[in-house]
Homo-oligomer: 189 residues x 2
DNA sequence: GTATCCATGTAACCAGTTACATGATTGC
DNA sequence: GCAATCATGTAACTGGTTACATGGATAC
């Protein structure tokens, strides 16, 4: 069984917030779920066409004065059914691929200083990501009642940011412990 | 810039433990790093040929009586250089794709019961994985001095299992909290 | 004789990324 | 006149998965 095209469901999901063009879906994706999901034009446009062909979405051409024309997609009942079926299905876990662990497991082949540098880089990254996520969190909490930003799903969105924070804290903690243990064995030599 | 072929380095890394055939590399991979890395034959064999062509590994045909013939690959100096260069390079983080969060963020479209079931399934999975990892850990700790199992890298290997445990505990904790918060809001209704 | 392991490979396929190309409109 | 934003798309490519095909050797 081939791997499922998750992009289809990401787009269907975004369309539940309202009709949008390919371009708008991309910016929506970037602004709302980019901390855990990413799409690019080269995939969005073909998949939208595919979805339209299968009647999971409808495509309407819109021309407004003073604006480039665009194709606006809306999710259909059939599309909603597909989306709901996917949402209810348990997640099929594919074997993970953690590049950091690959580098660590083979790190006996490089000088310790390189390994320390790698871990320090990871730590810096994780700290920056956590800070970014905390900013995101604050921003959302302050605008949670702001009707203009209209996210009924603010709670779920916050939960996704929380996941990101937890993940990065876990990652950070492991790297720090690893770094400590590495430095300790260095001193013993 | 195209995405890097990490399989190359996984294979080069495994070959630092000693020469091996494609088949042996697959079983080695399954037995030692499958908790965070996976490879399949359909990728291993072509990549090995590619590596041989680039002289990062050498290929030797071996025929033993009472055994099917096999091609044994060994890492070359050039291969070691490539591997070391990769090991020392910081990790380029590609945008993550967390399917669970996608489902949660769009979960407003399905009955709460389905979301609860999804979370419960994730929790069960995470618990099972943690148990599996603890078994792995115990096994390794008991054989750490056993020369026959010959893993000089037992410490690094343990660290990778520890990462897996931490990740799954984090995942588990988030799911449990999410479940609790979902049930609470259910009662309020 | 049959199931399992050892052993190698290819073909078809799919998901996803990057680079490239185009052009209208708006604000400075 | 130019940069930025809005808007759509394709072509080339790569990494990776799955299914299929083959066949020798071994242990029961």
């Amino acid at each position: 069984m081939a791997k499922e095209n998750t992009t289809r469901f990401a787009l269907l999901g975004l369309l539940t917030f309202g009709p949008a063009s390919g371009y708008e879906l991309k910016t929506l994706c970037d602004r709302t779920i980019s901390h855990f999901w990413n799409e690019n034009y080269g995939h969005i446009y073909p998949v939208l066409k595919e979805l339209a062909k299968e009647e999971l979405v409808t495509a309407d051409n819109e021309t407004k004065v003073g604006r480039p024309p665009k194709t606006v997609y809306s999710i259909t009942d059939k599309g909603m059914d597909e989306l709901r079926a996917w949402l209810a299905k348990p997640i099929v876990h594919t074997p993970p691929r953690v590049e950091l662990l690959l580098k660590i497991v083979f790190s006996g082949n490089v000088p310790r200083s390189k390994v320390l540098a790698l871990l320090e880089d990871e730590i810096k990254n994780a700290q920056e990501t956590i800070t970014k996520f905390e900013g995101l969190e604050d921003h959302l909490k302050n605008h949670i009642d702001d009707k203009n930003h209209g996210h009924k799903n603010a709670k779920l969105w916050l939960a996704s940011v929380d996941y990101g924070k937890r993940f990065n804290r876990m990652h950070l903690g492991w790297c720090e412990d690893q770094l400590r243990s590495l430095r300790k064995s260095e001193n013993r030599k």
